[in-house]
């Protein structure tokens, strides 16, 4: 399975999740909109809109959760006719990340949950030391554009050794 990453430390955990959970699409983002890794998308514009929507759903889900349960909702599942969406928050030393995944009948929400638990553990273990959390609204577009450039080969992923000249 091919995964594209903007930061190398997410590559192995995300690849394993995609392989095992057999999801069609996966998008790992920072709530600021920074895309850390993706699988299944072929166009930057699709990643852009999916990450914007995922960030928005996460933000509104968190707000509703806080309102109703005094805590943000941890995960959201939407079952469509052919495809289903699973969106969940995963805490790491770099701050909370959000995973959006889309799957069909070759997987299930039960399986995606099992492998998401594994992904959470792997990301928490692989994350480098905490970085200052970017502000959501102010840098959203800038972060998104930077990560898209890395994902689609127009910039080196963060953490990638720079080749000798």
């Amino acid at each position: 399975m091919t995964v594209a990453v903007a930061e190398t430390w997410v590559e192995e955990p995300l690849r394993r999740f995609v392989d095992e959970a057999r999801v069609l699409f996966a998008l790992l983002i920072h709530p600021s909109g920074q895309v850390l890794g993706q699988h299944g998308f072929t166009r930057a514009v699709d990643v852009m809109s999916a990450s914007a929507l995922a960030a928005a759903i996460h933000a509104s889900g968190s707000a509703i959760g806080k309102e109703m349960e005094s805590a943000p909702f941890g995960e959201l599942h939407h079952g469509g006719a052919a495809r289903q969406i699973f969106l969940a928050r995963t805490p790491t030393p770099r701050g909370d990340l959000v995973l959006l995944s889309v799957f069909d009948r070759s997987s299930s929400v039960g399986l995606v949950r099992v492998y998401f638990e594994e992904l959470r553990g792997a990301l928490a273990a692989a994350a480098p030391a905490a970085a200052p959390s970017p502000g959501l609204a102010a840098t959203f577009e800038q972060e998104l554009n930077r990560s898209l450039a890395a994902l689609f080969g127009r910039a080196e992923p963060v953490g990638q050794p720079v080749p000798d000249a």
């Binding site: 079952g79 299930s108 929400v109 039960g110 399986l111 949950r113 099992v114």
Partner: protein, 115 residues
């Protein structure tokens, strides 16, 4: 024990060597009800076992073998059993020393009684 699935779960869970019994949604692989011993990762067992059962069902159907009613998987350190009824699958996790024949009968009987 109360609830519509507890009778079926209890009849399987009481067999010697059974570590856990679960009624699982066959489409979502999510536990509907369960009776498991401490230490058993029920959601993981349920999702993976139900997924194996679903794959067996799909494959057997595609191969023209009809509907799948019962599945047994043997591993070095235990067994997984699955028996389906409609949109539900009854799953059991067992030690390797379990009496396979008795568990099979209990599972089939319990599955046939699932509401």
């Amino acid at each position: 024990m109360t609830g519509p699935y507890q009778g079926a779960l209890a009849s399987v869970a009481r067999q010697r060597g059974i570590l856990g019994a679960m009624v699982v949604d066959a489409n979502d692989d999510i536990i509907v009800d369960a009776a498991v011993r401490h230490g058993v990762k029920a959601p993981t067992v349920a999702a993976l076992a139900a997924s194996i059962y679903r794959k067996a069902r799909q494959s057997a159907g595609a191969a023209g073998l009809g509907d799948t009613t019962f599945l047994r998987m043997e591993a070095e350190q235990g067994h997984i059993f699955a028996a389906g009824r409609g949109a539900l699958v009854l799953i059991a996790l067992a030690e390797s020393t379990v009496n396979v024949g008795l568990v099979r009968l209990a599972m089939l009987q319990a599955a046939s009684g699932l509401p």
